[in-house]
Symmetry: C2
Subunit: 417 residues, 2 copies
């Protein structure tokens, strides 16, 4: 008697389910882009940078109050990360997310180089960073998703939206090794983004979160300078750039940076003058002494890459081995950043993450990479291998592939019912 | 021929003006309550507290992300400062002003244990802290001044206001060594403040900035526990307490603390979860290791007092010597905190500060200690002697007294015209 496709699928699912049930007890977490201990240890000499000398290069006693926009030597570090003029840099506390929230609050409530936002909408290339989307939710800013392509956001869609809706006040961008797809914006996309302000008006802001600007795993990808493009197109007031050392030194105790036009900077400094007497300047000199040249920064990041590369390679190796040619998923081969992004066939992401979770392997909840947590295809899964060991990554990804195959078979069989 | 009073005053003013014009070139700044270098050096061993051990008492790797409300050992320090239960403490970044602004933003925009504030008003005991008043201005909260007495705010006035106006949503308090008068709230005032919430409703918040809770210059003043009083009167949701180490360790790179009810804390932690992945925990363990017991904290503050006391005594000594019995001013004899407050006879403060400024001695602008910068009596001047040397304090205060006498004579003579 011939075996029907349905029977074959059933038998395969039974076999996979047996494998699944025979898995050992696991507890592996690939949800968040946290540096591992080995990476953190690369920056432990931060703690020996003061050695009794609390004086900045300009002779400021960093222990005392003051200096709302940061020390020049800390701004220099921001300049290397953001590719913007040193005079346009502001150095914040330990979190670029906080700077983003402050820029958004100022724009929304007080005006950032323009009138306060009213019923604002934001363009959100998706998949993207869940915490960006959460900030829009916090301030009640309506999110409009656009597709994220291999060379950046779908700029035809972005330009069309801006042309037809004046209430669009911004766009989120992670231009290099985008979270989670790893895409790097092409020169053309960067230029088109720089031009958006010409049509969108003074209140429109590109929130340019260059979180992974020096986080290369292979030959560094070239990213066109948004600052230069915006300068050329007269739209510097439309861009606000962010970076931090969170994934360079110690994740919780680093520095955050912002770069924008003088006009916007004046609004931001005015606001900060109300809510603080200045940032932690001692931590600024710790960082500027550890990372005291672009070359030192590059060497430091290469040491990170040496730790991270085997983990990223392992993710792709397991995906290649177990899923290639199966037609159930495609995935990125990230050259930098903190994530590998898997797009399953439609409708499989939630079930895959749930099955893996039940087996003790945690992935970021399906949907988290889309505005309002809703992935219309139920397809994108973000994988963050930095924190786990290479062995754990291998085990977790084997479980992942097993769960994805089970989800695909379940879906296929459901069609027969 | 008899000399008229007018002639006598004219002759005195001429003599004083000659003294004033003969002053050497000066550049002394008594505007801000900044610690001096000698005080900052008391905490330099902060920088040797890590020594390779980044682990918290509970084994948390403080270098990484996370821990939105702070480490237990850092909360303990907050507990000693705020006299509130450790579970109700939140540890922030380097600025209690930032925590205050965040609590105000949450209450105003999202609701802090209640509905968001609408057209809110705040009661502002005056003279008070200019940066408190500025936060109200930032958020468009209307300020209603009430008198600041020797035992705290005029509670009859406060209670009457709350009885008649439901849009009053809060009150600013600096309960111990109040900025700038040095007043310590009496037990009765603390209890009456704890009861305010019973009448004022859920949205009413006491912003209790206990900035100088351990900043004694003499025998510590006893401050009644607001937390206990609020607990007894069922108003814990109505109080939000703040403190920081800014005037304990390094002013720009310390820790800030907040204490409030579980209900309010949930709203604050929810908000913080949007805007940060956590505070600088490495700096938390630095501080908790340096100030590792209430006794260590007390010893540390005594060392501060030994540096500050001669400066405060010098201010009062010069005032006593040059102005006693002249009827042109009265002044506080602060037993702690960072300021001495002088109340001139009405109408003399601006002119005194201006004359001193022209002679190279800077005082906080007259009026700064009142809402909207308007002192109705033009009387209060805040003196901050911490940053200057004892010799500079003596010289600055001599100039101050000279200028005040000149202002008084000018005013007296103006009446004859």
């Amino acid at each position: 008697m011939d075996v029907t496709p349905q029977q074959m699928m059933q038998q395969t699912l039974i076999a996979l389910t047996e494998q699944y049930q025979a898995l050992p007890a696991l507890n592996i977490d690939l949800t968040r882009g946290k540096p591992c201990s080995e990476q953190l240890a690369l920056s432990n000499s931060l703690d020996s940078m003061i050695a009794g000398n609390y004086s900045s290069q300009d002779g400021v006693d960093t222990r005392n109050y003051g200096g709302i926009d940061g020390l020049p030597e800390a701004k220099a570090l921001g300049q290397w990360l953001l590719d913007a003029p040193i005079d346009n840099i502001l150095v914040g506390g330990n979190s670029s997310l906080t700077l983003m929230s402050q820029a958004m609050l100022i724009a929304y409530q007080f005006g950032l180089g323009g009138e306060p936002w009213q019923n604002a909408k934001f363009i959100c290339p998706a998949p993207g960073y869940d915490r960006h989307f959460a900030l829009c939710e916090l301030f009640g800013i309506k999110m409009i998703p656009v597709a994220m392509n291999d060379d950046g956001p779908d700029m035809d869609a972005v330009e069309a939206l801006i042309g037809e809706d004046r209430s669009i006040k911004g766009i989120w961008c992670v231009p290099k090794y985008s979270n989670p797809t790893g895409a790097v914006y092409s020169d053309e996309v960067v230029e088109r983004i720089a031009k958006l302000g010409q049509k969108a008006g003074a209140e429109f802001k590109v929130f340019w979160d260059n979180a992974y600007s020096v986080h290369d795993l292979a030959e560094p990808a070239a990213l066109s300078s948004l600052w230069q493009q915006a300068e050329a197109h007269g739209t510097l007031d439309n861009i606000v750039m962010f970076a931090s050392t969170s994934k360079i030194t110690h994740a919780g105790s680093g520095l955050a940076f912002l770069a924008t036009s003088e006009r916007n900077l004046a609004d931001i400094k005015r606001f900060l003058g109300f809510i603080t007497i200045g940032p932690d300047k001692v931590n600024q000199i710790r960082h500027s002494r550890l990372l005291n040249s672009p070359e030192a920064l590059t060497r430091h990041m290469q040491a990170h890459a040496d730790i991270l590369r085997p983990k990223f390679e392992k993710v792709v190796e397991v995906l290649d081995r177990m899923l290639s040619g199966k037609g159930v998923a495609k995935w990125s081969n990230a050259n930098g950043g903190y994530f590998i992004s898997v797009d399953t066939a439609p409708g499989l992401a939630s079930r895959t993450v749930a099955l893996a979770g039940q087996a003790g392997v945690k992935f970021t909840p399906a949907g988290a990479t889309f505005p309002y947590g809703k992935d219309p295809q139920d397809s994108n899964i973000r994988i963050a291998p930095s924190m786990a060991s290479v062995d754990d990554v291998e085990q977790a990804m084997s479980v992942f592939c097993l769960c994805l195959k089970m989800a695909a078979l379940e879906q296929g069989l459901a069609k027969f019912n």
